[in-house]
Symmetry: D2
Subunit: 152 residues, 4 copies
């Protein structure tokens, strides 16, 4: 699918939003690629990200599934819009046992209010990439809504 962004500023807008997410720093996530309707994020292995077996925690895998989708969708939205995840579903198909986690998400349908994405999560073990999780997500575009920090 080919998508046309609604403004030329979409990459910078995604990058700035990603920078504002403190949780991305905590888990060592890097925004690798942004294209219209597409996003890739990577997270190198750290012991602090593991579950009981020593593999990447399902929570980290879910985080990357959600965030790649959010920014894949965000890239297509109005410049003055904000994005929220409405819901998602994820299948964890194989243990995320390896040195690098890669999330890639594509927009499937970009509607006026809702955007549907699919995220594929890969684990790289000794340089070999393997699909370890698949996810299907629904985003909502909040028109004329700031993407910046809100005072609590």
């Amino acid at each position: 699918m080919k998508f046309v962004p609604k403004h030329t500023n979409y990459i910078q807008k995604v990058r700035e939003s990603f920078e504002r997410q403190e949780f991305m720093k905590l888990i060592g996530a890097t925004l690798i690629d942004v294209q219209p309707g597409y996003c890739e994020i990577q997270i190198p292995y750290q012991e602090s990200l593991t579950q009981q077996h020593g593999f990447f925690h399902a929570g980290v895998i879910s985080t990357i599934a959600d965030n790649t989708a959010g920014y894949a969708g965000f890239s297509l939205m109005e410049e003055s819009s904000s994005v929220l995840t409405v819901e998602f579903k994820i299948n964890l198909m194989a243990p995320a046992n390896g040195e690098l986690l890669i999330g890639k998400s594509n927009v499937i349908k970009h509607g006026r209010t809702l955007t549907i994405c699919k995220s594929d999560i890969f684990i790289v073990n000794n340089g070999k990439e393997k699909l370890c999780a698949v996810s299907q997500l629904t985003l909502i575009e909040l028109k004329n809504s700031s993407d910046k920090k809100q005072h609590q």
Copy 2:
């Protein structure tokens, strides 16, 4: 629903598994309660856990939804079993804007191989608790499988 655990050691088993999850330390999660088919986990607010608006990140909310369910189910499994999340679906219904995140999960169906759970996630803002996410999850019991770290 009332569940009868298969061994007397189920609380200790859950606690030890939780301790082995390095990711729980990173996000400051505390195991609050374990009962047969039930688990509660809490995560106090830290700036490092936030998304772009300064609220708890959806990835943190998903993590607590997954982990409470995993341990609610684990409490009912054989002493020699390990648990994995097969899949889950989560609806993020309200911004997680507050000082404390609380996850509570109940087992809905405990089968021989698969266990189905529901997790409710609450945000506490100025002492007032509000349901902010609901999740439905499928776990698999791995018989005669160690819950401990596996060398990579």
Copy 3:
């Protein structure tokens, strides 16, 4: 949860929409109860509704999960609105082996645009009711949109 309908006509509006669904007639579904944020539908066993083992087909179970939620949500919407299901997830927990299928759905969150519901599906076998499926659903309210047939 207690919900207040936005107009007094909500029961009639749900009944008329249900009547317009030809698929409900085909599968022999009856609208049993409508309350603000709640709906119940029943489907008696017919051989024509079965899967390979002779039990209610998962498609019939999904239909009732979807429709009870749709009308639970519809009962709370504006009189001039129409409703569509955005997405749903369902766990089929036990074979639907019995003489009657009962779907009951409750609204969990009624928002301005989106409404989140949970549906529980019960199978009645020799008069004994058993939970056989649980579902979590997202609806969208289409403002100023007709609920009636649209010419193709």
Copy 4:
């Protein structure tokens, strides 16, 4: 993905199971194609399959999403096995307004116990095919279990 079936009888096995599903006759579904890890089913428009706007009912769309996945997975299982859907999630992305509904499903991961599939549902309107729903599903293989009718 290329899959190798475990026995040569897989197409016949799927066809016979499909024939035993009375619900497929009721909704006028035809099994179009079976390949290792793949299945296609079609349902022509009938007024009896519609929701309130006169389009294919979400329940029919869910049925085809579920059944194509079930048989895509079943094609890879042991000859003596039976298959059940554990759970699925579906996004209804566009009104299914047209003369033919087409479901196509591919196995994403075929494990020893669980099989994960994705189903795409297309609506054909005046000969033009459009993606109207996407689904992600989990199946379980029941070893040494009959796929035939069980006396109630």
